[in-house]
Amino acid sequence: MRYRLDLVLRPVEGALVRVIGMTERRGFAPRHISGGADAGDGRWRLQLVVDGSRPAETLKRQLQKVYDCESVEIAPLETGAQEAA
């Protein structure tokens, strides 16, 4: 399954590495990464597209435990194509 993650991170050292590392360690392969620091509040808005066969909810809960991760949303992508296949 392919998922899109929308993350908001504190603008602190290590935050990016933590969430990308967590995503990979928990069995999801990043396919696309984009984002940047918000000009207003300095927070990182990060979008990841990942592939993984594990339940996305487990990754969401794990990312919610990352101290520097203020919010995380996960949405499935290509569900129609997956089901058709």
């Binding site: 290590g14 360690r25 487990t58």
Partner: protein, 581 residues
């Protein structure tokens, strides 16, 4: 809590002194560490602080001693090391704390911020190295960040599911002026919210309606300080109970509802009950593979109620039919209160009797033939002679024998490296426990493989005259690896021979610790009595049969119903379902 106003300046001369002050304000009294270049300002500050520093002989000993201190006391364990190799030597102890949810704050010195990223002498990116094995970490680049970092580090270490927090302190931060910083005030640690009422009601109905319920408790019970509530729930409900390795002690070992540890080296009664149950009430446990065996065949008939402080653990491996994320203590109180209203008239008596019968039928036997010292019998005797001792063990066969044959009155009395399986854990963990509980008997049980991994800490035990009673079970081999090679690798023994071990009793004596050695079964009683009665530290070197194995055993990736028998000459798998009632 420090009585000083949070807005008042602490008046301390530099960052290092302020950190020492913050540790004291957090209630820390003992820290474990080893000095070196980049952490020297902190060690200088220790001279004027009220902290007791225990100088170990290897940084891994410091991390594992702090780990043992935290496990035995429930307080935050603190360890300190310098940058570079000092920091990397902490890594195993930090990882051990992460995997077993042990609250720790680990402080490392670092090269000055101006040299970060230049490959300076003893520069190591410990902040990056440890990211996967810490609950959180901080690289402090400004003195002014110290108050928030220290408060958050201790809060995070303690709150919810505990864990280790690393604070990397560059040298310029340690020596930077700090007189303007406020006095440290610990952050408030909040408990998780109670599980939702609707889910609790659903759980209560499921428990009341179950015919073959089993309570499956783990390390999260003690982490939530919920041992009393767990016992109240178990007793009010009357449900047969199994425990994980790290849950042992949540029910006393002789409790009539306790069926034993489940899993790979669990009791037959426990595994049979779980495999046959129609409802698992899982409390503070996480379906670890050593507990479940082949997950797809684990408890195949059971619905699952899962109560855990860490929402992530729920449905991670086994889908929960009723999820109870939240405060374990509050959840257990609600379940216990409900259980009191139906426990006397609930129709589970046949199941309880069947479980009790299996417990009796499959009770461990201690009448092994021969004159070799039978480790399970020796360990059972240790528990009888020192029932309230804190027992720290290492990793391997002896670790499983401790879990199977010692009796624990509380989980904090059983210090075992559960998830990481850290050989070398036992001796430093026992040191930490003895510092945390100076008036309690502390027993360390180790094997000849594990013991050598942190043997240098014998000198620390002697220096501090810690009255730890060390029992070294010596089979002159890496016993658990040998057992697996015997059973699963066609007896192709590979690199397990330790027959050239040193004379352990002599080694202990050289370090200043009285020691004796025994080889015959008839010597056990007097030797244990003498060891436990002696006032200071002592080591008992016990030669055991090198062929002894740990039984029962569920082979890896096999259903828990397929337990290998205890007779090594007639090993056979027996289906739990085939057993007569």
């Amino acid at each position: 809590m420090n009585a000083t106003s949070p807005t008042a300046a602490a008046g301390l001369r530099n960052g290092a002194a302020w950190v020492a002050h913050a540790l004291e304000a957090e209630g820390v009294d003992t820290i474990f560490g080893y000095p070196g270049g980049a952490i020297m300002p902190f060690y200088d500050a220790l001279v004027d602080s009220g902290l007791r520093h225990i100088l170990v002989r290897h940084e891994q000993g410091a991390a594992l001693a702090a780990n043992g201190y935290a496990r035995a006391s429930g307080k935050v364990g603190v360890c300190v090391a310098t940058s570079g190799p000092g920091a990397s030597n902490l890594v195993t102890g930090i990882a051990d704390a992460m995997l077993d949810s042990v609250p720790m704050v680990c402080i490392t010195g670092q090269v000055p911020t101006s040299l970060l990223g230049t490959d300076a002498f003893q520069e190591l990116d410990v902040f990056g190295m440890t990211m996967p094995i810490v609950k959180h970490s901080f690289l402090v680049r400004k003195v002014d960040d110290l108050p928030q970092v220290l408060a958050e580090a201790f809060r995070l270490a303690r709150e919810g599911r505990p864990g280790p927090v690393l604070i990397d302190l560059p040298k310029d931060v340690q020596v930077g002026p700090a007189a303007h910083l406020p006095a440290h005030v610990p952050a408030v640690v909040e408990r998780e919210p109670a599980p939702a009422d609707a889910a609790l009601a659903e759980a209560i109905a499921a428990i009341a309606g179950a015919e073959k319920p089993v309570v499956y408790g783990g390390g999260g019970i003690a982490l939530a300080d919920a041992v009393d509530e767990f016992r109240q729930f178990v007793e009010a409900s009357g449900i047969p109970t199994v425990l994980t390795l790290r849950g042992l002690g949540a029910l006393p070992g002789n409790h009539p509802q306790f069926l034993g540890m489940l899993g790979m080296h669990g009791s037959r009664a426990a595994n049979i009950a779980v495999q046959e149950s129609d409802l698992l009430v899982v409390v503070g446990a996480r379906f670890d593979d050593r507990a479940t065996g082949k997950l797809a065949e684990f408890a195949p008939f059971a619905r699952v109620i899962h109560l855990d402080a860490d929402a992530y653990e729920i449905s991670k491996l086994r889908t929960a039919d009723i999820a109870l994320p939240g405060d374990v203590r509050a959840g257990l109180r609600a379940l216990a209160a409900a259980a009191r209203s139906y426990s006397t008239n609930h129709a589970q008596s046949d199941w309880r009797q069947r479980c009790a019968k299996n417990r009796e039928r499959h009770a461990a036997r201690y009448d092994a033939p021969g004159q070799d010292i039978y480790a399970p019998a020796l360990l059972k005797r240790v528990s009888e002679l020192a029932p309230d001792a804190v027992v720290a063990c290492d990793v391997g066969q002896h670790q499983m024998w401790v879990a199977q044959h010692c009796r624990f009155s509380h989980p904090r009395n059983h210090l075992t490296s559960g998830a990481l399986g850290t050989m070398g854990f036992g001796l430093p963990a026992a040191m930490g426990a003895q510092f945390a509980c100076p008036d309690r008997p502390v027993v360390m049980v180790s094997g000849d493989g594990s013991f050598m991994m942190n043997v240098q800490e014998l000198v620390t035990v002697a220096r501090c005259q810690l009255p730890i009673k060390m029992i070294l079970l010596d089979n002159s081999s890496l016993g658990m690896v040998r057992q697996w090679q015997e059973l699963f690798f066609d007896k192709r023994y590979s690199e397990i021979d330790l027959s050239d071990n040193p004379d352990f009793a002599a080694l202990a004596r050289v370090c200043g610790i009285p020691a004796t050695a025994i080889t015959q079964r008839g010597e056990v009683e007097d030797a244990l009595a003498a060891l436990l009665a002696a006032p200071g530290p002592g080591l008992l070197h016990v030669k055991i049969d090198a062929r002894a194995n740990v039984w029962p055993l569920v082979p890896p990736n096999t259903a828990n119903s397929q337990m290998l028998e205890s007779n090594p000459n007639e090993q056979k798998a027996e289906s739990a379902h085939a057993l007569p009632a």
